[in-house]
Assembly symmetry: C2
Homo-oligomer: 326 residues x 2
């Protein structure tokens, strides 16, 4: 990580004329330090307070053409999505997001305005989560590449892992399911129309997911036995809990009906998006029976003996989720 | 971050046939957790012990074609270099490296053997530093891309920042200067011969730098007033200290003579490599006058009133260092 002191750069129009250190200066001026930032942008490494004595840490790529498209996403969308992708993983451990490191590679002809908007998106999503950007790195590349590392604090709680679900537990989710996948279908012109204002929230779910970061620590406080961020698809992600916990999960489609998705693509597409769509960054968790779950948590199934994830008691026939290499 | 439980994958020959979750399983089996790893590979995020109540955190890209070339570097070299690039920044704050997160994007036809060697290099360099790989991410890309995030612990010490050097301090370095640049010149056929066994250590310095991680915390304990990882070039990196500390730094070329570099390229190239070559990941620090500096620290200059970095009392005429966007 290489950072220099703050100095506003005015007049540079693209990254090449701004230069690496000009970019870093500008980023540091656009990204205010948070209350836990003991050393922020401007040194070899950041120093973040971890009063709990443990730090939750997770890293993710966002690559142009794979995780976002510049003709679909605004720069601010990319910033929001990058921060959300990482900080939702922090929340899924039951932790509060505290800091974000952002490595950014870009072509030299990238407009500085685009970078300012990206930075504003990163800062705004961090603020939504209660975190701040504490550092990063810059490099030159032919495409826009981001690698984001989220850090968080457990405030004395045990982390909520994937192993821990027990027969008799209920399965619940916080946040939408399949909305980001429906948005992708709309943008790809496979469903609906991007110009239909009624579908705009689904497109927004794809371009700028809004995880409920509070739901993670609240689930931990409610006694969640296992939790995961729904990023690869509900079935795929719950399968991780089923494997790690050595249990079977049964989902009830009656609890998964989503009128917005049915409007966009009919009931078959709606169910497919709900079960296999990724990138919603909603949280899925299991809770002991009898726990009264406040909103946004809603029960969608139960944990039993056995293995795998069933839908209404049967194996789901269809694509299960996303594998980056296949 | 997405991780699954451990399971050895045998017989898959490239990344496409191994698949994302196969890759993650394999990585987790090849990367043993460390003593501070409370939750390692296999969940939404890692949990690392931070007994100090603060965490040092830094992130860096290593992009194929920019930071390494597959025809020059072995997979193990890339793993060593990736870990070193990040963990040297941790040491430059005066902290001990504790954990590393590794995001890896690669083409599906990348051989699994290459990934195994990369992983062994990452694990070995982490072990040199006293750290361990605690988590990561995988994605598909047309080239090999790594983003590494190093974490570290200050053990109660104040972080050694760039601001803090005062007139009268001495400037010292731990580790070689210009060796990685000489190695690059040799590999590029601009100097020496890659087949000359006498030059092999310089080539190795480029392909597999070996930072002295202990030197960082020891410098902090000795009272270092400012410290930086020499990654962009000695003049460029000391300029960050000079600016942040509002001082002038004067280097003495008599203290920078390096017979290995003179053998490889003559005295003019040797001085250029020493002053402007990056990627050595040695540490440069300032210490109060009168501090007795043990090896590997060696004094190369002094801090005075003023600004900028001088060489034998004069501004250096020549390329100053590396800017990724110019």
């Amino acid at each position: 990580m290489h950072m220099a002191p703050r100095r506003l750069v005015i007049g540079a129009e693209d990254l090449g004329s701004l230069g690496e250190f000009g970019l870093i200066d500008a980023l540091s001026a656009w990204l205010p330090p948070g209350p836990r930032t003991l050393v922020g942008i401007g040194d070899d490494a950041a120093v973040l307070a971890t009063p709990d004595g443990r730090v939750v840490a997770t890293t993710d790529f966002l690559l142009e053409g794979r995780h976002f498209r510049l003709d679909w996403s605004s720069a601010a969308d990319v910033g929001h999505k990058a921060a959300a992708r990482s900080l939702a993983d922090v929340a899924a451990m039951g932790a509060r997001p505290t800091g974000l490191l952002v490595a950014l590679a870009a072509p030299p002809d990238l407009p500085v305005n685009w970078l300012m908007s990206l930075t504003s998106g990163l800062a705004a999503e961090c603020a939504r989560a209660g975190a701040s950007v504490i550092g990063g790195d810059t490099a030159r590349a032919d495409a826009v590449l981001l690698a984001v590392t989220g850090l968080g604090d457990l405030a004395g709680r045990a982390p909520v892992r994937r192993a821990g679900a027990a027969p008799g537990d209920v399965v619940a989710v916080a946040g939408p399911l399949g909305h980001a996948a429906a948005g992708l279908a709309i943008l790809s012109k496979a469903a609906g129309s991007p110009d239909d204002p009624a579908l705009a929230p689904l497109v927004a779910a794809q371009l700028r997911p809004e995880p409920d970061y509070d739901a993670g620590p609240r689930a931990a406080a409610l006694g969640a036995t296992a939790m995961i961020d729904v990023s690869d698809g509900l079935l795929a992600d719950l399968a991780h809990i089923a494997v790690a916990s050595e249990v079977q999960i049964n989902l009830r489609t009656a609890a998964l009906t989503d009128p917005d998705l049915i409007t966009a693509g009919g009931s078959t597409s709606a169910l497919t998006w709900t079960l296999t769509g990724g990138e919603d960054h909603s949280l899925a968790a299991t809770f002991p029976p009898g726990v009264r779950l406040p909103a946004p948590w809603r029960v969608i199934g139960e944990v039993g003996e056995g293995h795998g994830v069933l839908v209404d008691g049967h194996p789901y026939e269809g694509p299960k989720g996303w594998d980056h290499f296949r």
